[in-house]
């Protein structure tokens, strides 16, 4: 298959064009960790329920649709490339913004409780004294993904809402993040219950900053955000694959 496309990410072209099963590789595309592109070119089977809704198609697809139908792979590649570059750019900006805000906000010091003697509580959780709490900051990437950062004098709380495109991703995300939250002891900085309206929350106190490096904590949070999307895409892929295999086997007996 010849392609005369000049694009930034040559690796993605090589992957997609020579792949006999383009739809399967789409979901595992490493250059696009955050978007599971449910775009299938194989004849629709009852199990492949996902398809790209018309509203989320890239505008460049209109131009590519004028190409002969025999080169449908070509248009599929263009869609994936244009989505790749804009998606990659937005996620990069979003993560940079969060990283900068965290670097500025993570200035924590020990502060014993003002009301009760000999107690030391994370002030961001109590929310009682206005002089100890900074303005909360909400960073949205789009309508679905956002990140709330609340800082106080001795603690910082970071709550995230991950992207959930359809019902299946909703269920997978909930299960996966609940699994992680239940093991919050092992993570140390994870909160057992997410803040209302969000999927997962971190609570970092001054003690964590004393024990661990600040820049490493921030790296961890940002890396976590990147990896979550990849994990959920992989989970979705494995669920779909397994379902397809099981159904194929089961329905074979009726042939």
């Amino acid at each position: 298959m010849v392609n005369f496309i000049s694009i930034d990410d040559g690796r993605a072209v090589g992957q997609e064009v020579h792949d006999p099963h383009p739809h399967r590789n789409q979901l595992a595309n490493p250059s696009n960790p955050c978007e599971s592109i449910p775009f299938s070119l194989t004849p629709t089977s009852p199990l492949q329920s996902t398809s790209v809704p018309p509203s989320s198609r890239s505008p460049r697809l209109n131009w590519s649709e004028q190409i002969d139908t025999g080169s449908s792979i070509y248009s599929h590649v263009l869609l994936s490339i244009s989505k790749d570059s804009t998606m990659a750019n937005t996620i990069r900006l979003y993560l940079t913004c969060i990283r900068n805000t965290l670097e500025a906000a993570m200035c924590l010091q020990n502060f014993p409780c003002q009301e009760v003697e000999r107690h030391n509580k994370p002030e961001v959780e109590l929310n009682t004294s206005p002089e100890l709490i900074m303005n909360p900051v909400l960073i949205c990437r789009n309508e679905a993904e956002k990140c709330l950062i609340e800082t106080s004098i001795n603690s910082i709380r970071i709550s995230m809402k991950v992207k959930q495109a359809d019902e299946l991703e909703n269920i997978l995300a909930k299960k996966f993040l609940r699994f992680l939250s239940m093991r919050a002891e092992a993570f140390q900085v994870l909160r057992r219950k997410p803040v209302q309206g969000y999927d997962i929350s971190f609570l970092i106190t001054n003690y964590h900053c004393e024990e661990m490096h600040k820049h490493k904590l921030i790296d961890f949070i940002v890396q976590f955000m990147e990896d979550i999307d990849k994990e959920i895409s992989e989970l979705k892929l494995s669920v779909n694959t397994r379902g397809r295999l099981v159904a194929t086997e089961f329905l074979k007996q009726f042939i």
């Binding site: 937005t90 900006l93 670097e103 500025a104 303005n135 900051v137 909400l138």
Partner: protein
């Protein structure tokens, strides 16, 4: 007695602020028609009444600033030509824009945020987080 006087003074000021914002928005529309987005943003940012607590004034000012911010195409040029005294105010408005959740606004705000942090530094972000007196 004193509290009443202050209250009346504040009310008067609100009306004055809102008329000033309307005046500003007309000026900004003309500047945008003349393709001067940087001047439009400067006009939008200056004279922002940050000390007031009234939500209407803040929303009105935000609408005006939002209009100017969305019209910016060349972010680097805009930041280099902006006076440093406006960095803090712009950063506060950027965070307000990021909180809206509207995709094009967030895209634009994220773009400007990255460049503004490079220019103004982390102190700008910290001032926008910790300033409870001058809010946007």
């Amino acid at each position: 007695m004193e509290a009443e006087e202050e209250y009346l003074e504040a009310e008067e000021n609100l009306e004055a602020i809102i008329t000033r914002i309307e005046h500003k928005s007309r000026k900004i529309e003309t500047l945008l028609k003349q393709s001067k987005p940087v001047d439009a943003l400067k006009t939008a940012l200056e004279g922002s009444a940050l000390k007031t607590r009234d939500e209407r004034c803040k929303s009105a000012n935000w609408i005006v600033v939002h209009r100017a911010v969305m019209a910016i195409k060349d972010v680097d040029g805009m930041i280099s030509s902006l006076d440093p005294e406006y960095y803090d105010i712009l950063m506060k408005y950027l965070y307000r824009g990021l909180a809206t959740g509207d995709r094009p606004t967030c895209d634009q705000c994220l773009r400007i945020h990255e460049k503004l942090t490079e220019k103004a530094g982390l102190g700008c972000i910290l001032r926008s987080l910790s300033d409870t007196v001058n809010t946007v």
